[in-house]
Symmetry: C2
Subunit: 334 residues, 2 copies
């Protein structure tokens, strides 16, 4: 197994979560190669150590990163690629690079979403579009708001892969004094859980925006956990316990935390703002918005019982009145 | 099945939850008989309709209640007794009444705790001490902060009993335009879930008080759900899904909500206050404090794997340093 400081790791992305991941990785490994698309962010981080646009509280040591705005150069240089681009931009970011470039790399997705152009989770996207071997794919996830990583608050992450060596190399590279990393072989379950929880957080936000209280919200989130189990077991039926932090924990942090973009997005929808206004106002992508449509589409063939996702879909995409749609949903929750 | 307005119902207790329950019941039934121990509260509620000491935001119509400070009189008058006294006061309140008085009553417990003198849940206490038939016992529980009932926020409650008719009569009496009531036959599971969640909320509060963040808290609460499942299945093994609002939902509302006395209690412990100081400061019983010792004792024979309860026990009863104890606990969580 390679030692940490021999690993050639490239991080693709410059949002909050990408910045938090670079902060974690540079405690163990340097240099970390880092693709940042925007010239101004790249320049500012290289000069000051701060990504002032997306996670201004995280301090990165500029001496420990090698930043480039050339994605091909970064991928070429590295053996391990950590993909942290918002799902809606993955195909735009990777679509133009030669297929062969990623083929023999180990690719770890930290994306929590579905590639909307292809309606597939990231693992499937990498396999189908780039011929990446399933054994070279890993997922890093868990309840993890970037803001708390910046503040070095204790966080549990889970490294998932079907490849036992890869899973443990990735767990090692992400472990530090404020990150405890567990391992799992359930890449599909962890990816879908990460996608679904964003939709459920939007629903929680809408309920909050409509004035529902904590009593109801707790019942709602318990129902989300049950629906998550139902969908994941339908899409990839293996023996798993949904009580682990990577599934239920991730749902909880997203649905309850003040930092959650998806919950904030939902809250504004609940208060009556249009989707277009909210997107403009937040200046960020709420992953769950795209995920809602994708899961709705995927479920057309899967036919799992997912009334919560369908209610959020009806509100966001069908223009149904949120108060009526969610009151109706209350009737089927337990 | 009796019609709602023919039911003779007595509520025993005058805390926040008792007051909220009287508010719910009087939307359907009147008069509701109500035992209030303290003369001054009884007088004030009868005159103004407000329990200014414990839930001053709930309006009760004084014309719809018959208040008495004589517990025997209230029990004697009624067929259905709703027990809502803090667990630590149950034996003091009921210990002196003639055993025969409760024997043929239908007794619904809304207590979320263990009778500390006897180390048993309320259903077992009623069976053993008063010879109440198991078929005449019901439990009403679910994620339900009294403050939100006062504000008429939508709340899910669960009526549990082994007696199919009783379960449905109780569900009916608690249903109103802001309460949706579900039914269950799992009285032991719902009682233990309600007890355990208070302990877990204390733990959540301690972690918060120590400065842990939302990422960790989400992983912690997911682990609590798993530990709850493990304990309940050990104490009463039947087929149940812990994702229902009465189990997981109740845990979530207590562990996350600002209204939770148990979480507030834990928060102050985490900040370094002594148990005695916190009890004095809060002027309320944190049920979880007593529950921690009871579950610890019960588990001596049961031997379920409950490291979270044990860590809270070590802090509250063994004087172990909270920071060390909870950091050690982090190592076993997943």
């Amino acid at each position: 197994m390679p030692r940490n400081n021999e690993l050639k790791i490239g991080v693709l992305g410059s949002g909050s979560w990408a910045t938090a991941i670079v902060k974690i990785l540079t405690t163990n490994i340097h240099p970390v190669y880092w693709w940042i698309r925007e010239e101004d962010i790249a320049e500012s981080v290289a000069r000051t150590g701060y990504n002032t646009r997306y996670l201004s509280t995280a301090k990165i040591d500029p001496k420990k990163v090698k930043i480039s705005t050339d994605i091909k150069k970064v991928i070429n240089k590295c053996d391990y690629i950590i993909l942290v681009v918002p799902a809606a931009f993955i195909d735009k970011s990777l679509g133009n690079i030669p297929k062969a470039l990623l083929k023999d790399k180990k690719v770890i997705s930290a994306v929590k979403g579905i590639v909307p152009e292809k309606m597939v989770i990231v693992a499937d996207y990498l396999i189908r579009e780039f011929g990446v071997d399933a054994n070279n794919i890993g997922i890093i996830s868990g309840p993890s708001h970037a803001e708390e990583i910046a503040a070095e608050k204790l966080t549990y992450l889970t490294s998932s892969s079907q490849n036992k060596e890869l899973v443990s190399v990735v767990a090692d590279m992400f472990s530090c004094n404020y990150v405890i990393t567990h391992t799992s072989d359930d890449i599909f379950g962890t990816e879908y859980a990460a996608v679904l929880k964003n939709i459920y957080a939007i629903g929680a936000g809408i309920y909050k925006g409509l004035g529902y209280g904590d009593n109801f919200l707790a019942a709602y989130i318990a129902n989300c956990a049950k629906e998550m189990k139902c969908f994941i077991n339908a899409v990839h039926p293996i023996d798993r316990t949904l009580y682990d932090s990577v599934y239920l924990g991730d749902l909880l942090v997203t649905a309850y935390s003040q930092y959650s973009r998806n919950r904030t997005f939902g809250n504004m929808i609940g208060q009556g703002y249009s989707v277009a206004t909210v997107q403009l106002e937040m200046n960020m992508i709420a992953e769950g918005y795209y995920a809602t449509r994708c899961i709705h589409e995927i479920n057309k063939t899967l036919q799992a019982n997912i009334p919560i996702v369908e209610a959020v879909y009806n509100i966001l995409y069908q223009g149904r009145p949120q108060a009526l749609e969610l009151r109706k949903l209350c009737e089927v929750l337990v």
